[in-house]
Structure formats: structure tokens, C-alpha cells
Symmetry: C2
Subunit: 186 residues, 2 copies
């Protein structure tokens, strides 16, 4: 799944002393972690950022890069948006993929993601419980290639663990050379 | 064709009073033009920019977005790099595609570009005479989605006109809602 909104929209994930979200854990999955901080702002567009943040991750939502028309419509029909009142749990999972991944042609990356790893099919099984937004940052010079933001209700916490566990076992994930798992609540 | 280098590299095309390239013409093809200026700097990475430029277009080279493994290898085998001493002519063609284009799924855009419009096949016919670099700027908030930079020897000027003429007649080009054609020499 990817954001269905095709217009680029800047996002900033800002960790520090203020923000709607309380950071409950920060865990390195592959490679270096991110520094600890108590709270996080999830900012879209030109929203003002807190002074002296502990860390900031910048990126942009954009057009889909892999999904077919069929997949895009299937996701659009069932997915939920961010900000549901019951979705008081969130996860921020920044990842970076290896130079080998990025040197692959478009059809090779697509083949690994969906035909071998069933990335979109697996994600579809958890809709609409798990809402998701994909933020691109590879072309913006940051430390990560993508930031994925998930929101869900406490009753779907086990489903969320199952989802990320399955994705991390895929062949696609063997190309992930840095991953951090940040959990939050509001 | 797209840049075969998968690592993002920032570029700035800076029009003003200085730069290696003399701007010989600026012509609007679709929509608004760009202001006139005598010279242009083609800058990669963190190179310093002239003071008080007339205009600056920023972007980044990145991984391929559409080409298959077969196409990528075919291009890599025959294409020339930038900076050949005999390539004293250049063209900078900034384009923007419509919201309708960007709302299409990946397979739909690929279908229009290559299967219907033969974009890569047409470009291949002009290799290695016409060297090309694709710079992405859609996700960087600029006025255009792509900047394409071409370099060629004066004896290939007719071939270059033929190439851009053919591309502008394709179905893909019906999604272009702004295009400027800047020609240069050194």
C-alpha cells in the first residue's frame, strides 16, 4: 500500500518535548537506532515545528511507485484515513534499503515486492484496521528512504505485530539495511 | 532512458550572468516560459551558485522509475556520458505532467510511456549521439516535475530536433501541461 494522494505533500516527524503523540518505545531493528525523546509531532505542509527538537525526519507523500490500477483501487475501497478517534496507537517505522535494491530496474523491484514478497497482499489483509501513510525521503538527502506511519486502535495491536512480523520475513526485507521501530500513543 | 546512477545526486540549473553554457534560446512549448538570461551553470552536488541568479531549477537524479532490467542494460551498453569535448550543444527541457497523469497507477503510466508511446525505444535510436540526464523535481516543490538535460555535437542537431519532435507527438505527451525548451552552447 502507498498513499493514494498523488500530490506531493511535505511531512515532518519531529521528536522532542511536545506533540500530540507520546513515544512509548524506540527499538533498532536493523542498524543504528534513533535517540530517545518523550513526544512527537506529526506535521503536514508548512506547520510550525517545536524549538530544539531531538530529531526530525522529513519527507513527502507522492504518487504510487509500484501498485497497479487494480491494487490501487482495491486499497482505496477499504483503507481508513489517519486521525480516527479510536486509533490511539501509532507506529513510525523509518527504513533504508541497500544500494543493491536501488540499482535494480523497476520490474525487478516490483517482482520482489509483490510477486515474491506479497507486500501489498499482506497489507490488504489488515485493512481497514491498520491505517497507513507512506512518506518518501530517499531523494531528500535524509538518513532513511521511507517513513511509514501506522495508526490503529488498541484492540488491533496484536494484528499490527503480526503484520510487521510477516513483512520482516519477506525476501523484500533482505534489502532493508536500516530499520527503527518507534511506537506511540495518544 | 533515465539516469542509470541509482544514488540521489542534487542538481541545480542556474540561469544568470555566468556559467559554462551560453543560453541561445528559451521557447515556451506548453504554458508559461522562463525569463531570459545570458548564461547557465549546470551544478551537481554542493557546488557554489552564482549570486543573484535570474532563475534556479533544483532537482535530483535518482533510481529508475519505469525501465525494465532489459531496457536498463540496453541503455547502459550504448549511452554516452555528459561532458564529451565534441558535445558543444545542449538542451534543457523542463516539463510538468498533469494531475491526471500522477493519479494513474504505476502500470498505467508504464503502459502509456513505453507500450503506447515507445518513449524508451525512440530514445534508444539516438544513442550514443544524444547524451541525456533525467533530473526529478516533482517531490521537491518546484514548478516542474522533471528537468531533462541533453548534450550533443553540432552535427547531431537535426537528429535532436527529430527526437524531441517525435516525443511531442506521443500519447504520453498529451499529459504534459507545461514545457519549456532552452537551448545552449559552449
Amino acid at each position: 500500500m502507498e498513499s493514494p494522494s498523488p500530490s506531493p505533500l511535505a511531512h515532518a516527524l519531529v521528536a522532542g518535548t511536545t506533540g500530540e503523540w507520546a513515544i512509548t518505545s524506540i527499538r533498532p531493528v536493523v542498524g543504528a537506532s534513533l535517540p530517545r525523546a518523550p513526544r512527537l509531532q506529526f506535521l503536514q505542509g508548512q506547520a510550525p515545528m517545536q524549538q530544539n527538537p531531538v530529531w526530525v525526519l522529513h519527507g513527502v507523500t507522492s504518487n504510487v511507485r509500484y501498485m497497479t490500477e487494480h491494487e490501487q483501487h482495491a486499497v482505496a475501497r477499504v483503507q481508513a484515513g489517519l486521525g480516527r478517534p479510536e486509533a490511539t496507537c501509532a507506529a513510525l517505522i523509518p527504513i533504508r534499503k541497500s544500494p543493491e535494491w536501488w540499482a535494480l530496474a523497476q520490474d525487478q523491484r516490483r517482482e520482489i515486492m509483490q510477486e515474491q514478497s506479497r507486500h501489498f497482499s499482506i497489507g490488504m489483509e489488515y485493512l481497514p484496521a491498520i491505517a497507513r501513510r507512506l512518506i518518501h525521503c530517499r531523494d531528500h538527502g535524509g538518513e532513511f528512504d521511507f517513513l511509514t506511519w501506522f495508526e490503529y486502535a488498541p484492540e488491533h495491536e496484536d494484528a499490527f505485530e503480526h503484520l510487521v512480523g510477516r513483512l520482516r520475513e519477506t525476501h523484500e526485507w533482505s534489502y532493508v539495511d536500516r530499520e527503527v521501530d518507534v511506537r506511540l500513543s495518544r
